[in-house]
């Protein structure tokens, strides 16, 4: 019997996550202790961390989609072979990228620091994924539930924005720093929005499976929220570049659009009023528990995102660790929690084994360790960032003095990072074992 390709993706996703956490912990200690493990310097450990965790997000989201479409949406994949080719391109490109980082060969830019030539297989793999996805669903279902829309949006806009992120290879962009930075962060903002579409689509899907309620994924309100989210993805990215000397209207459009997220915020609070008792009842279900955590993190991160989208606040927080809190809070708190819900759902579905009580205990303890550590991590970054922002504006201390001041917060941050690593290790380990057993068994 052929192994489900979705599971293969998820197995690799877990391995990437473990690697990403390892290099994240390493680089955070290099950040606070000068000279820590200088033989493997920060210039290498940082991109390794970033690329591996980004790989985790993509692999697990893509794996979920490949798994859910045939198994639960009841749409035969257009081509299983294409999906397998997709996997191999991802794996080989990934290994090449990691190798470049290990030997210190860069040439790209933030997030994609590898030599730009390696973006070509990434483009190709997304084309394959896109073909497979759209050929699978177009014309088969008339009224797409919202998650199919979201996945489609994520795939389409990832491709669009990834292309935009490589416009710098043309001198028209590269040789004009303001244009270059503006398009770069325009692309990155929307690019993260695109992978969020993949993730939120997954959240919708899992929620539907757990609750058995199919109306939510087709309701008017859900679609209204989806379009509002899409508008923000498309036009709300400029908080990254408020201080860049591009036209003022770029800043104002983003500011105005971002504030519409207040509507999303109110909807979350409104939902909680209704769903709280339900949540308490279902909290013992592992995937559900991760979704509840992600819900709380969405709330926290949205408040922060709203705050830093106000230019008068942004001027203090930009270029400080508050931005890191924003990025880590969303990628760990929101993306990782949703994707873990999805992975656990799939692992239990395919291996047909419920985790035994010891395993469940380990996962649940890991869940709490991760979330408490993440909260500590998040708060210490906010404090570090707020102090740095204030001191930079006051302009009395040197850079070294400022870093000295915030170093206690960063030490807490680095230890909290270890907490996240341990917590997630406890969560992943039983699931990874189940996957390996499945991949080795009944072949």
């Amino acid at each position: 019997m052929k192994k489900e390709i979705g599971i293969v993706f998820i197995g690799l996703a877990f391995i990437s996550l473990l690697g990403g956490l390892f290099f994240g912990s390493l680089s955070s200690f290099q950040f606070v202790i000068p000279g820590f493990l200088d033989s493997f310097p920060f210039v290498k450990s940082r991109p390794l961390h970033v690329s591996l965790v980004v790989a985790w997000i993509f692999l697990s989201a893509i794996g979920g989609i490949y798994y859910f479409l045939p198994k639960h949406v009841k749409l035969e994949l257009y081509s299983d072979k294409l999906a397998r080719i997709h996997f191999w391109i991802f794996l080989i490109t990934g290994v090449l990228i990691l190798t470049c980082y290990f030997i210190g060969k860069f040439g790209g830019r933030e997030y994609w620091e590898f030599p730009p030539i390696l973006s070509i297989p990434i483009f190709i793999s997304w084309i394959l994924f896109g073909i497979n996805y759209f050929k699978t669903i177009v014309g088969k279902i008339y009224h797409w539930p919202i998650y199919l829309w979201m996945w489609a949006t994520g795939i389409f806009f990832f491709f669009f924005t990834f292309t935009e992120a490589y416009l710098w290879v043309f001198p028209f962009f590269r040789d004009h720093i303001v244009r270059d930075i503006t398009t770069q962060w325009k692309a990155y903002g929307a690019l993260v929005g695109s992978w969020n579409m993949l993730v939120y689509g997954t959240a919708f899907f899992i929620m539907e499976r757990i609750s058995g309620d199919k109306t939510v994924a087709k309701s008017k309100l859900s679609f209204a929220m989806y379009f509002l989210g899409l508008t923000n993805l498309l036009f709300g990215w400029a908080h990254h570049i408020y201080i860049v000397p591009s036209a003022a209207w770029i800043r104002n459009v983003a500011y105005l659009v971002s504030m519409t997220e207040l509507i999303i915020l109110s909807k979350i609070i409104w939902n909680w009023r209704k769903s709280l008792t339900e949540s308490v009842k279902k909290f013992h279900i592992l995937p559900f528990r991760f979704l509840v955590a992600s819900d709380i993190w969405i709330f926290i991160n949205l408040v922060l995102a709203l705050a830093i989208s106000i230019p008068a606040v942004n001027i203090f927080t930009h270029g400080t660790h508050i931005t890191v809190a924003h990025a880590m809070g969303s990628t760990i708190g929101i993306n990782t929690m949703v994707l873990l819900a999805s992975c656990f759902y799939i692992v239990q579905d395919i291996t047909k084994t419920q985790f035994n009580s010891l395993q469940q205990k380990i996962v649940k303890a890991g869940f709490w360790i991760t979330n408490v550590s993440l909260l500590t991590f998040f708060i210490s970054l906010i404090f570090a960032g707020a102090e740095k922002g204030q001191m930079v504006i006051e302009d009395k201390l040197t850079f070294q003095e400022i870093m000295q001041h915030i170093s206690p917060y960063l030490t807490v941050f680095a230890f909290a990072g270890i907490g996240i690593f341990i917590g997630l290790l406890m969560v992943i380990f039983p699931a990874l074992r189940a996957i390996f057993r499945y991949l080795r068994g009944n072949a």
Binding site: E113, E164, R179, T183, P245, A247, T320, V324
Partner: protein
């Protein structure tokens, strides 16, 4: 919501986005106060900056890693300047690696930093906040 409505909304949003993208890439970013300093060396310097992944530790306009300082205005900051910057490139520091750069690459980097310095200010320290949360342009 009918399928037609959904498609229509999506189509409108995407069309606007497409036009907006073109506007941002052209008129939105046409101003370049540093144009006169954009030498061939400065252009190469940008690629050197990428080749050594300086962005892992340094920011330009606040964007990048936070281990080192923002480099946007290192060339014009009182007490700093090209010679000061070059000293870091030559020797590194406790935290910054010595990249063993060739004289040529160092020059290219310095010209790149000089160009950036002329394009604007970061971090912005002088600004006016307005009642609606917007900020008014900074002056140097």
């Amino acid at each position: 919501m009918s399928l037609k409505t959904k498609r229509l909304i999506f189509g409108i949003l995407f069309s606007f986005f497409f036009l907006y993208t073109i506007a941002v890439d052209t008129i939105g970013t046409s101003k370049d106060d540093g144009e006169r300093w954009l030498t061939e060396k400065a252009k190469k310097g940008k690629l050197v900056f990428q080749e050594y992944n300086c962005t892992a530790c340094h920011q330009i306009y606040g964007l990048g890693g936070y281990m080192g300082p923002d480099l946007t205005n290192v060339i014009s900051t009182p007490g700093k300047g090209p010679i000061y910057a070059k000293a870091f490139l030559q020797a590194g520091s406790q935290r910054m690696p010595n990249f063993q750069l060739s004289e040529e690459k160092m020059e290219e980097l310095i010209e790149f930093l000089t160009y950036i310095d002329k394009t604007g200010i970061s971090p912005v320290k002088k600004f006016k906040t307005n009642f609606d949360g917007t900020i008014s342009e900074a002056t140097k």
